[in-house]
């Protein structure tokens, strides 16, 4: 942990371009991965199923969204709708007899195509107008899902996911569902870290920073933005399918409503725009902090230490959630990723003051 930089010299360009330039970082990530893989062994099923599993899946969703919002700089307030397309498409494909592995890919493709169509329509505008257009998209897709019985199975219906197996392993037990979700999230993480180093990733960043400047250096803004929408919607669609099969297992339209879109944007912002570790931390924080604090306050209220009404308690998660968004935007706009980065940089050269990278 300490003196991490000492003895680390990059003498070739390859070494300097490595994903993890500092050996300690690599060991840290490997240790975390092993801990995550072994989680079903030492985490109780209750915690695994209701906290760790959703955290992993929402991290994958936040990663998909941050590709669009953080790297390409395109705001999207209807991402839950994209995930809904993936979830419903995968269920109907599996029911129609398509193998689960193929259904995941196809549902991703369907979300990507629909998401890119809406994105293309909205790409004439920027900023606030893009927010409004994607918001309208959220309401439209919500309505279609609710009101077309062939999709939702009728109004107010829940659609159960059929039993499936992934590469001959049945996705039935909690551990199997957790490992599948973890596998997808890790895949997305690796993809995201590498896409930043490709020409596509750099084109996205150029578009984000100034689109006509990017056009001047030969990046086609429209094509790149459309590809960003396509890629991000594909990732979101598959994540929606994973969410349906691994976590909810019975899907209703309300699970993909407008509030969920806001929650996703909050995860991305609280974590830090365009950051991998930020997506993981942000998803965990937005998901778990309100639950944790509400449990704390209701515990105190039950013990009679704080005089609050039941009505207040039931609204507490909303309050904490809103206050959290405001607090992060005002105090640390770069999010949890920046806080982690500050700590990391401090320890890089501890006990000295200044870090190199």
């Amino acid at each position: 942990m300490f003196y991490r930089l000492s003895g680390t010299y990059h003498t070739s360009y390859e070494a300097d371009r490595k994903l993890w330039k500092i050996p300690t970082d690599r060991w840290l990530v490997i240790a975390l991965l092993i801990l995550a893989l072994l989680a079903p062994l030492y985490v109780s099923p209750l915690y695994l199923g209701s906290y760790v599993l959703p955290w992993v899946i929402w991290s994958a969703a936040a990663l998909s969204l941050t590709l669009l919002m953080g790297l390409a700089g395109q705001l999207h307030f209807g991402f839950a709708a994209v995930m809904a397309i993936g979830a419903y498409a995968s269920i109907h494909l599996v029911r129609a007899g398509v193998p689960f592995e193929l259904a995941l890919l196809l549902s991703g493709l369907i979300s990507a195509v629909i998401g890119a169509v809406f994105g293309g329509a909205a790409l004439r505008v920027k900023g606030l107008y893009l927010v409004m257009a994607t918001l309208a998209m959220q309401y439209l897709i919500d309505w279609v899902v609710v009101n077309v019985p062939a999709i939702s199975g009728g109004a107010h219906a829940t659609l159960r996911t059929p039993a499936v197996s992934f590469l001959f392993f049945p996705v039935e037990s909690l551990a199997a569902r957790y490992w599948l979700a973890l596998g997808w999230a890790v895949l997305l993480t690796v993809f995201f870290m590498n896409v930043k180093r490709t020409s596509f990733g750099r084109a996205l960043v150029a578009i984000r920073d100034k689109d006509f400047a990017a056009a001047v250096i030969g990046v086609d803004p429209f094509k790149t933005k459309l590809m960003a929408f396509f890629t991000s919607s594909f990732m979101g669609g598959v994540t929606g399918a994973i969410l349906a099969f691994c976590f909810y297992r019975a899907v209703t339209p309300e699970q993909f409503g407008f509030n969920v879109s806001i929650q996703l944007v909050a995860m991305v912002l609280v974590g830090g725009l365009g950051s991998v570790i930020g997506s993981w931390l942000g998803a965990g924080f937005v998901l778990l902090a309100p639950i944790f604090l509400t449990n704390l306050v209701s515990g105190l209220a039950a013990a009679g230490w704080v005089p609050v009404s039941q009505n207040f308690l039931s609204h507490l998660p909303l309050m904490i959630y809103g206050a959290m968004i405001i607090g992060f935007l005002l105090l640390e706009p770069l999010g949890l990723a920046k806080i982690y980065d500050n700590i990391r940089k401090y320890f890089l050269v501890w006990p000295f003051r200044h870090a190199r990278s």
Binding site: R124, Y139, I326, L329
Partner: protein, 293 residues
Amino acid sequence: MMAYFIELLISGALTGLMYSLVALGFVLIYKSAGVPNLAQGALVMTAGYAVWLVMAWGLNVWIAIPIAAAIMFGFGLVVERLLLRRMVGQPVIMVVMLTLGLEILLRGLVPGILGSTPKPVDLGIDFAPIIIGDVFINRTSLYGGIVALLLVGASLLFFRTRLGTKLRAVSDDHVSSWAVGISVERAIGISWGLAGIAAVVAGALWGSSQGVDWTLSTLLFPAVAVVILGGVDSVPGVVVGGILVGVLGTVIPGYLDSIAGGSTRDVVTSLIILLTIMVRPFGIFGREDIERI
């Protein structure tokens, strides 16, 4: 059949005017500060609760509404001072998210403290509809529509006063306004306060027609459609956009709901937003150089 259509038309137009009450606050803030205030719906809800709270002290409506207006004016000033002023110069996503965070916070805090069951606000309006021929007209909507028109007219006049001229200057260019000695911060603060007052009128009228609870904050969505259609920085656009959104959002569901299975109003509203943005992003009366955001 004709009477049904006319009834839909009139009630749509009146509902639309009531939407424009909500939208007016949005435009007032956008015009001076360039901030899209997605918390306007929650502001209307808070104002509705404020009116209810003041009336619960046993005060007459006509005293309660000015007191609530004073409270919400102060609230608008506080929000601007504590939250929005620190976001100057930040990218639009930060500002949008901040107002959304405020929306969520208010939606939890206000019903959490004051109770989430619908609160009655009695403005003394008769619930019996006015009947002309075969057409029924809801009195609350009628008075709401008239008040909306009056309020928009008052805002138009206000923008011709000394203070209003300052606000227009600020909306044109912050730096030049500073250069000629206008306090930009105060102007933006006042516009938030005025949005709070508009929210009180909207909250009282909507509250009297459907009760005050958190659902008032969902008025944000039709208000956004009104604003996009009319032009985000245009006060007259609020009236025209409001009537259009109200009429389309009432007449079309009036015929389609029985076929398509309900709640086509949201679809119409979404389509209005999408089509406006694709065809004419700056709205009917908006300025074309809206790109600044």
